[in-house]
Symmetry: C2
Subunit: 312 residues, 2 copies
Amino acid sequence: MIAVFGHLNPDTDAIASALVYARLLTRQGHPAQAYRLGELNFETAYVLKELGLTAPELLPQLAAGSEVALVDHNESAQSAPHLAEYEVTRVVDHHKLGDLTTAAPAYLRFEPVGCTSTLLLKLHREAGLDIEPQDARLMLSAILSDTLHFRSPTTTPDDRQAVEFLSPIAGVDDVAGFALAMFAAKSDLGDTPAETLLKMDYKVFPFGDPEQTWGIGVIETTNPAYVFGRQRELLAAMDQIKAQDGLSGVLLSVVDILNETNRTLVLSATEGKVLREAFGVVAQDGVADLGARISRKKQIVPTLEEYFAPQA
Amino acid sequence: MIAVFGHLNPDTDAIASALVYARLLTRQGHPAQAYRLGELNFETAYVLKELGLTAPELLPQLAAGSEVALVDHNESAQSAPHLAEYEVTRVVDHHKLGDLTTAAPAYLRFEPVGCTSTLLLKLHREAGLDIEPQDARLMLSAILSDTLHFRSPTTTPDDRQAVEFLSPIAGVDDVAGFALAMFAAKSDLGDTPAETLLKMDYKVFPFGDPEQTWGIGVIETTNPAYVFGRQRELLAAMDQIKAQDGLSGVLLSVVDILNETNRTLVLSATEGKVLREAFGVVAQDGVADLGARISRKKQIVPTLEEYFAPQA
Ligand SMILES: [Mn+2]
Ligand SMILES: [Mn+2]
């Protein structure tokens, strides 16, 4: 049995792609089971509930040498704690290639598209397999989520074509309405503890040499006022995770989905200096206006990577 | 212009796949140029001569940040000397994933098949592109070369299907005869210096932690008697490269293509001990009979990797 899972702090793509890829592998004669590496966010919980699906189980510790397939990530810092003991035989991903290695020739499918599910649709079509409505709905949700319904600069023509192909199979006539309902569910944060908000879509990145480690959270919301109303609590949660995980810096970007803007909470002078020098943005009242830089992958991390890169 | 190249000490797959992938990318609107990272072996020279093609040029040093595509390899030890300064945006390969990383999301296509050209055929078919007869002949040659016409245990059903699909387009009726002519050309080593013979199909592998570095050459031939007639010279060349490159060990496997056997030259007690402990084979007269282990990738390197792996 191949264990299939997405990254820590799973988003809709990490969960949907694990479910869809596990079913694809199973249909192709490789029995597979989807797992998750953390709690669902509200958007993903809404997507699964609407489909009448239960969440995949948390990945247990597997026996050494177990066969695993990664979706939507490849770096060890974003993966299962015991990854080095497992045998990675398959990866489907749309992020830059990090520290992954394989013990033997493996199946790797990476493309610079907006969503892993866009690649999973290609895999189905290349294999000549029809798409089950439930899988179509999962992939459609993941693509709309990752691309913020085509607002994100990570969106490619392949993602748009995938949505066009999948929506009739998924039985979704009003794609815009479907996406808005997902985003509203994601934004309905209620009395979620600040630490949970911070970790909802949070990834750790190594930068530079000597290595610095930064934690970067993103809250994509249709209701940024709610998030800024909890600014003080969020800063306390950032401070705590920074100390606890021995991080060099922590950023939390509040992305207004509908207006396509990013305002990032600035924890201390360290983060303020980096934002100023790397992005040319001066924080006001503890908030740095990063403008239309709404993609962590495409507009935040590469700039930090360049900023921290050792000078040749 | 994207520079496309295969590994150091190129084999037929490294050259053919670079030529075919450069043409495919160009046809898809990404102008590309094939290069090589070393001298052609006799088999590849024969394949190109029969097609009336000249060899790709040696890769010059490119400007920092130049876009490159790797075929048939991914590890830095087997790639261009300045690889770290270039931007790898595409890799098509059938080897295990080594120390490769990318600065941004890239296009990676790895599958555990017998030959890179088998994957290039898939890329053409997935893109709905017809195959030019010249490309068909190049891919056919590469697949027959890498799989030793299906004798190698690396052969997969995909490789067999690719040969079946390509041979009529390439205008090759007698696939077995075509393969034998290639292998004969490869075996016609004449007065090639011993150092050149050693380096014809030679790769460097890091093993274990702390890291050891081993050089492993393979001579695939229909005429092993000729090679063993030059055993003394070859051992001298192995000794020299070991000292010069500061290697932990050097192996040279003489693979009898037609009889599917591997007899490996043993340079010193160091190599003898490793072959004895890792493969359970005791050398006689400086030659270790590794039996039917004719694939470096599948039957030699993984065993050494396991042997040198740090104990958990
Ligand atoms: Mn994703
Ligand atoms: Mn190859």
